[in-house]
Every structure is written in C-alpha cells, then in structure tokens.
C-alpha cells in the first residue's frame, strides 16, 4: 500500500520525464538555429542578395560575391516542383479518400507509401534517367521533377487525411440532391477541407525545399546567373541546399561563411513555410 506522498512523488517524476524528453527533442533544433545564425550572420550583406557567386578567385580577391542566382534558382525549381506535384498529388489524395472501394486504391496506397519512404537520392537518379539523359544536359526542369517526387506522396497523404476529416454525411447530402460524385468532392468536400489541403501542400513544399540529394545530378548547380531566365529551366541551375553542400566542402574559408549564410536563408525560407502552414491549420471554417 503506497502512501499518498509516494504516489505524488511518482506522479511528479513521470511528469519530469515528459518535460525532459520535450527538451531533448527541442535541443537539436535550438542548437542548429543558434549555430547557423552565429556563423552565418556575418556573411549576410547586400552583396549576398545581389551578386552571383562566380569563381573562387572572386572571393579570394575580395571582389563582391553572393548567392542571388541560388536564391532565384531555388524559387524556380521549388515552384516548378509544386506545379508538377500539386495536381497529381491532389488527384491521388482524392482517389485515396473518396474512392476507397476502387480496385486501384490499395495499389496506390502501397506505391505512395513506398515512394514516400524511398531515399531522396534515388528520386534524383530517376529524374536523371527520365529527363537529364534524354535532354543531354542538367536542368532546372529535371530538378523540379526530382523534387516533385519528394512532394507527391506527402501531398497525396495529407490530401487524403484532410478530406477524410470531412464527415461522410456531407457527401451523402450532396449525392442526395442529385449531384454527380466528382461535383460533390469538388464543390462541397474540398472547400470544407481547404485549410487542411493548403497545410499539407505547404508541409510537402517545405520538406522538398530542404532536399539537396535529388538535385545533385539533376539541377546540378551553377556558379553564375544564366543569361536568360529560360536558362534556369533548361540549363543547370543553383539551389540553396545543394549550394550549401558545395560551399561546405570547398577549401575556401570565405565560401564556408557564405555556406552558413545560405543555411540561414534556407532555414528562414523553410520555417516561414511551416509557420504559414501552422497558421492555416488553426483556421476553422
């Protein structure tokens, strides 16, 4: 027979364990953010956002150098990936949620989960074989395709769960007034689930925006801004995660500092996306 005091102590101890695990979860995040900011903030200046990188000699000779081409390239490649992944991912998500009886559904579910668990570098390899080889050149487009493979299964799964959260009775009510099934999904279920859909898409976008591996042999990287904007789609283009990696393994201390600054920009970009997603999650109807 335990005393009240013993039980209270036990209760407090368990609560303490929970708080401790929370801190352990948060610690790496805090360390990363602090470390990145401390090392990178010094290299964040006007040139960083307005100049292109150029050859290593630029930095060594103290000429202005920056990552404007990387930031623009990231936006181009990421949005290209979103444009490809969103319609397909939404379609797959609708299929998973709204047609649970369809013969293809179980197959789709397994394939989607497999794609989600597949190493990102293999997705790059796939885009390499599908796009880079036939085109004969590394390109922003192939990078976008590779990243869309990262986004796709996440969008499909978040779409499914957003739609599933809408009561089935809404669909029956739609059908009962003689609406075809696709119209019920499009005009009643999807609007009701809109915040969940936006949130899921943003999470997928943020996840893909941080990937370097699929881009190494697709968009490849570029030290210069292309002469024409089409060069960002049809030719090799720089992206933040992959540039970060290149700068980090380079032998120049100035480039190392720029790498940290690139990490800040990438972090802020990804965190802003997550914050927006969080904002939408909290919205009600």
């Amino acid at each position: 027979m335990k005393t009240m005091l013993q039980r209270n102590i036990r209760d407090r101890f368990m609560e303490g364990l929970l708080v401790l695990s929370t801190i352990i979860v948060l610690l790496p995040l805090i360390i990363i953010i602090a470390h990145v900011i401390i090392h990178g903030i010094g290299a964040l200046n006007w040139d960083f956002f307005t100049q292109e990188l150029g050859s290593p000699s630029r930095a060594l000779q103290g000429r202005p150098t920056g990552l404007v081409h990387t930031i623009l390239g990231t936006l181009v490649v990421d949005f290209m990936a979103l444009t490809i992944a969103l319609p397909v991912g939404l379609g797959a998500g609708i299929m998973l949620s709204e047609y649970p009886d369809h013969k293809l559904n179980p197959v789709l579910r397994v394939m989607n989960d497999t794609l989600n668990g597949m190493p990102a570098i293999l997705k790059g390899l796939l885009a390499f074989v599908l796009i880079v080889k036939p085109m004969g050149t590394f390109s922003g487009f192939s990078g976008g395709v590779a990243l869309s493979f990262v986004m796709l299964p996440i969008i499909a799964r978040t779409t499914e769960s957003a739609l599933m959260s809408i009561p089935w009775s809404i669909r029956e009510a739609g059908l009962a007034i003689g609406l075809p099934r696709w119209r019920v999904v499009l005009s009643t279920v999807m609007p009701a689930a809109r915040f969940g859909l936006v949130t899921g898409t943003l999470i997928a976008f943020a996840r893909a925006a941080g990937e370097a591996a699929p881009l190494l042999f697709t968009s490849f990287g570029n030290n210069y801004l292309p002469n024409h904007w089409l060069g960002m789609i049809l030719g090799p283009v720089d992206t933040l995660p992959q540039r970060l990696y290149s700068l980090a393994i380079s032998p120049y201390s100035h480039w190392h500092n720029m790498g940290w600054a690139a990490a800040i920009v990438l972090l802020v970009f990804v965190m802003l996306t997550f914050a927006t997603a969080r904002f939408f999650t909290r919205q009600k109807f």
Binding site: D101, S169, E172, L179, T188, F285
Partner: protein, 302 residues
Amino acid sequence: MLNNSAKLLKTPFTHLKDISNLLMHQASGPARASKPVSGVTFTPEPASGGKKFRMQTRNLTVRYGTTIGVEDVTLPIYDKEVLALIGPSGCGKTTYLRALNRMHDLTRIASVTGEVLLDGTDIYGNDINPVNIRRRIGMVFQKPTPFPTMSIYDNVVAGLKLVGIRKKSLLDEVCERALKQAALFEEVKDRLRSPGAGLSGGQQQRLSIARALAVDPEVMLMDEPTSSLDPQSTNRIEELIHTLKEQVTIVIVTHNMQQAARLSDRTAFFYVGHLIETGTTNDIFTKPKETRTEEYISGRFG
C-alpha cells in the same frame, strides 16, 4: 412462365399485386425472374382509395457482405402519401429507405437485389443513372447537413447551381420558393448570404429540407428528420411534412410512435430485416394483425 406459375401457387397475393402493377404501369423493361418469396408474413393491403403507385419495391433484399439488412420486402408507395417506416433499432428501416434512392451504391459491400420501381421503371436497371434518380427522389438525413462553406442561399440552390444553372432570376426564384416550402423563408430572408452552418439545429434541418426541395423531387425520403431536434423545431417540421404531402410523396423513418401516428397515411412495421405488416396508419395503430406489431406499438419491446 414456369417460374411465374410456381410463384402463383406459392404466393397468390404477391402475384396478384404483380398483375395489378402490370395493368397500371405497363411495366417497362424486360420482366425479371424474381426469386420465390420466403416465409415472410405479408399482409395484403386494401386498395388505398384508388390512389396510384408512385414507387414500389418488389422482393427487395439488401445485404452487407453476408449480413442481411432487409430481406424480401415488397411494398407499394402511393402517390402523395406519407408512408411511415417504424420498427426497433436495427430492423432495417433505414437500410430500406436508402435503397430507394440508391444510396447503397457508395458502399461496395452492400448489394441490392429485387426491384425498386419508380413509375414502373426499375431504378436499379442497367441504363439508369443514379444521379438522375436522386434528383427525382430526394433525401433528408437524421442530422442536418448544411454544406459548411456555403451561404444559406448557396446551400438551397446547390442542386441547381452546381450542375451549371447560372441564371440568377431562376435561382432567386427557386431559393425563395424552396425556403417558403420549408417554412424557413421568413426567418432567414434578410441574411441569405450568411453561412448556412450559422443557423440553429432546427433551422439547419429546414435548410436541408429546402435544399432537397429546390430540385423539385417527386419523392422525399426522410431518415428520422426530427430525432436531433427540440420539440418546437420538431413541430415545425411535422407541420411542414403535412403541407408538403400535397406536392410530394414522402417516406419517413421514425422512432417516435406518436409522430408516425400524427403524420402518416400508411405505416409499415419492420422487424429484424423483414416487413412484418403494412396498412393504413389507423389500422396499424388500432387493430394490428400481427402480435409483434401490436407489442411494438404498445411499447412492449424495441
């Protein structure tokens, strides 16, 4: 033919009804061989004042996988009457109701056999599009189901607007007509653009009814439409059903005996998936032929 004679021997009443249907409707489509009626007590009905059939189910069976929801129900639904389906929970009355506008189509494990005739045509026929059937046979559910993102106005005209009818004058007219039919117009006429989900429970249910009426259905199926409402809202909806039956045929599932007695012209009593007895509401409530019916309506079980 052989099949029919066999049936004639076994179940004279069912066969007589088949013949009378043929005479009344010149039943379209190839006649299907219906399976022999199992040991269900089926009470033949007195002619209901010469009214014509609007719908009829013949040997209707709904299965969920291997479980039987309702079995072998043959039941006429007369034009512009209120038919109440009563019975204890799980007796199959909702299952039966949902078979009448092909709501089971969405559940793959559900299978429907037998016939559901609407003006003599089997709505489960091969060339029938369930979407068209549901426009003619509307449905109101237990819980109010306003479309969450739509205004009151958009909710009411959803059945028209979402199939491409854009003419504003027509939509306005339909909206007002349907809301008036559902006895909701006076309460919401100044805030048609505000969200439908913002109304009270009783108003939301009347909104659901207005939405169902907007597409001008010939038959209205109601699945315990007042079970989640307060007495006052229940009252309003009952009054509404009273006036509606001049225009539409209504089939209503209810757990409330008084409601069935107050509202309906005819009553059908279901028990463990079978139709036990059907007749005029007056007969069912005052002189039921089956003991189970009597026991149920007098509150001895269920």
